[in-house]
Amino acid sequence: MQEELRVVGKRVPVKENFDKVQGKADYCATITLPGMLVGKLLHSPHAHARVVSVDTSRAEGLQGVKAVVTKKDDPRKIFTWNVMTYQLPDGEPQDQYIFDDVVRYVGEPVAAVAAVNEEIAKKAVDLIEVEYDVLPAVFSVEDAVKKGAPRVHDTAENNIGAPPTPVFCYGDVEKDFSESDTIVEGVFSTSKQSQAGLENAGCVAEWRNGRLTVWSQAQLPHMTKRMIAQALDIPESTVRVIQPFAGTGFGAGTDLCPEPYACLLTMKAGAPVKVALTRSEDLRMRFTREHIVRVEMKMGVKKDGTPMALKAKYTGDAGAYMGKILSGCGVALASNITEYEFKSMYQEIEAIYTHHLACGAMRGFGGMQSTFAREILVDEVCEKIGMNPIEFRKKYHRGVGGLGWFPDTKISSCGLDACLDVGAERIGWKGKWQGWGAKKEGIRRRGVGVAAMGWLSGAQPMLLEHTNATLKFNSDGTCTLIGSPGLLGQGVLAAHCQIAAEVLGIDYDDVRPLTPQDTDITGFDIGTHASRGCYCIGRAVEKAAQQARELFLERASKKLGVAADALDIKERRIFCKDDPEKGIEFREIAQDTIYSFGKDCRQITVNATIEPTEFAPPWQAGFAEVEVDTETGVVEVIKMIIAHDIGRAINPTVVEGQLEGGQLQGIGFALFEDIIISSENGVNLTDSFNKYKIASMLDCPDHEALLVELGDPTGPFSAKSCGESGIFLQAPAIANAIYDAVGIRLRDVPMTPERVLAALKNKSSTQTN
């Protein structure tokens, strides 16, 4: 690892936070434009219906209404809210229209209104008369595939969005199962978590002089721009996407939501329109976490634990549209390959349409679900063969050079052993884990559990991860960093500025990131998803900074009469390595590039492009200590520790923040977060923060994220990712801790007191029988 870093590794403040802490930062929610109209949506009350007619005459007649749009205004271009589709050569399925003839989930928009204020817009929405031909609907994947079940899409027979398809299999699992000494298996289910950022879904769109500007919470801005153009059937160059600060993310911004409706409205009204959803609309309309509703997994090992075969099937409940369910299931499967040295693996995915709200992506995409199943089964295997569960994980995880998540990828670094060590130490594993079958007494019983995994730093090589970063230097030696990771609050811009400053030998304060970000200014970038911001974009920034450094040295070399390779830059000064006294201020060179009276003006502006191929897995170990109340089934998390091999923390404060935030979302996923949709009528019963609960400070147990910094040869300053890693291990570690405490194996998330108590009852009745 590089020595003497002055900026990288420091806990410097995130620059945007000064505006945020004063209430001065602009979000879609706070943006106001002159003459801006308020847009409101009319939602279908039915889960499945043919839209026979939409009468907007009364709404249009209301004073103050400027536009009403319905399917008549839709250019009828098939598209998908999932803008990630452009990252795959063949794309993901596209099956949406802005307004279709059929509504397929409760809450699907049927019309939209723009008016001079919110009251009028709401009144106008109430005045729209829709005639529905209500059709039977289907609310579970089991019912959806039954013969004669109502069809969600005419094109999908038996509602099969994708039939069972084996992917990335290797070896002969049947043979290896037959040679296994111990086999465990289970069927697991996971919930439909909501990203639930505090800012509700919203956007502003303005059609002016033949250009469409959209202020969006997009995480993938350039592809958002392309998708909006596709849906509206206008040239892509007509569309400009601006990313103000977003009060949400965690995957939510990888899908469109209100954008198409706001765009149709502004194009008809000729004035800017804001569509800001309420919390209830957000929860009913925003694509949720990829809903891998069922994971069937089977695992075989030798007596000594040697992993032999793993077989799994991931069933996605797509909901009304395919969204990201296929890639979600695909990543569940692929990321499951990275962890252990199984001799053979056979995994398949399938996706089924239902009349549920469709799903997109959330932090931990796919890896949440496969990790939950796998890490519980590993625990079961360990008990059967009498092995310490930490020992198993240390012994059989894949290492450097081993197979990664995608065929032909190799693991570039692995610090899992260190993670397991520091995590075990911090939770006090030695004293607290009393071996398999330890007797516990009393109403409240404690237990500890462990889980582990390896993730990725960007979704390459499966997905296109093309990135550009630009540095534009000013005459005072400072520079503007022009990129478009989105402003979700992930803090990655601080890391980018640190990387650039370190390479250039200038100060952190000398590098200013562009905010808000604007596709008219920024080069192409995928944006933020798949934990790529620091690793992928950071590499582009590093490359741009290196190129700029060379240009500065070249210019200084002419000034100083010294060869460029004999020069170095530190603390804003360019100097001779052999004679440090001889040198010139960085800013003097910068000034000379712009105000050169020697007829050599050339502002230094450098763009660097990166298409990473390595996936640099961050590794992590999670440890939970819980207390289970055997009379009520309530599980209290006493302590939750996650230890992360993140290569190097460019900004430890930011890294900890990402991991700790993921941790609490992971606890929510494990214990209480759940979108509940009525199986009678498809109504979302959890459409408020009163009903869909996320953790408050009082639900925040003693929790910590520990950093293990052993470096990765491919990352910028040897960094790997940290964006998603925090969220994976709470559910499996807590499940394993519950087993340690009270001897029940839970297979469904969230692990509510209701489920825990039922399992306890079930256990005691089987024992007495």
């Binding site: 800001a276 209830s280 009379e631 009520t632 009082l698 209701e754």
Partner: protein, 288 residues
């Protein structure tokens, strides 16, 4: 832009008489707002009133007065935070104190009121449960003057109260408690700040180890918060020990009629109701 549109006609009376007159004028069409933490949420969920009558401009409705040997009186605009900060409530009416101190967040406690909680008549209302155990009375002011309704008769059915459309609830009063009376409250929630999936409160009049009289209230298991009279009878005149508690637990689960909702299941509520009541009694006994 807001998630709700209030009715355009806001009534802002300056005293109780004016308020009662306004209510008379708009028979049944006005909703009364104290702290706003319930009414405005209901309006967000689609509830529509033609008028909202705000008590915000009426002075002197926020008080906690102890009439020694008679009543503790809590005004209609007394906030949950004020109740939670009251030493008298904490020491003598512990169940109410707990139900107020654990109710919602600091902000909603600064705004919400005990009386508002009773008027909302939610079966899971935390203060409802405590006031029922503490044998409270609701004081109503109408065109015919004042009347008082025992809490036992106050909730008629799901979210319906004995308040007439032209009446205003001006206070709740609790009978004075002696040194041998103890009470406790507990709620079970999904996350800490949530409406109760189940709550329970008890008031025990003790004589040494023996329970002379008991009131047991349980919420979120029926259309209104209810008393479990069979449980009360079981402990009345008896020593509270493991055996009696065991019996109480059993009887409670046969007296409840819970439903499934997003917060829990009927089965779970039924199973746990006995455990919760048992634990609340145990806790109250510690307070003697």
């Amino acid at each position: 832009m807001s998630s709700r549109i209030l009715p355009e006609f806001e009534l802002l009376p300056h005293d109780i008489d004016e308020a009662v007159k306004m209510l008379g004028l708009h028979q049944g069409k006005a909703s009364i707002m104290a702290g706003g933490t319930d009414l405005l949420v209901m309006m967000g969920d689609g509830f529509r009133a033609d008028y909202v009558l705000s008590l915000g401009n009426i002075p002197d409705l926020a008080y906690i007065i102890e009439e020694s040997g008679k009543w503790l009186r809590i005004g209609a605009m007394t906030t949950l935070a004020e109740v939670a900060e009251s030493k008298v409530v904490q020491e003598k009416y512990t169940a109410l104190w707990q139900s107020a101190a654990q109710n919602g967040s600091p902000q909603t406690r600064n705004m919400g009121t005990v009386v508002g909680n009773l008027l909302r008549a939610s079966p899971s209302g935390d203060c409802c449960c405590a006031v029922l155990a503490l044998d409270g009375w609701v004081v109503l002011e109408g065109p015919q003057g004042r009347r008082e309704v025992a809490i036992d008769d106050f909730w008629l059915e799901y979210r319906a109260t004995a308040r007439r459309p032209d009446e205003i609830a001006v206070e709740v009063k609790l009978p004075d408690v002696k040194g041998n009376t103890t009470s406790a409250f507990r709620a079970m929630t999904r996350t800490t700040l949530d409406l109760a999936k189940l709550n329970a409160a008890v008031r025990l009049d003790m004589s040494g180890k023996q329970c002379e009289n008991a009131r047991v209230a349980i919420g979120a298991v029926a259309p209104t918060t209810i008393r479990v009279r069979k449980a009360e009878e079981l402990i009345r005149g008896k020593e509270i020990n493991e055996e009696t508690l065991e019996e109480v637990g059993k009887v409670v689960s046969t007296e409840v009629s819970p439903i499934d909702d997003v917060r829990s299941t009927a089965e779970y509520r039924r199973t746990i109701s006995g455990v919760l009541v048992k634990r609340v009694i145990e806790e109250a006994c510690k307070g003697v």
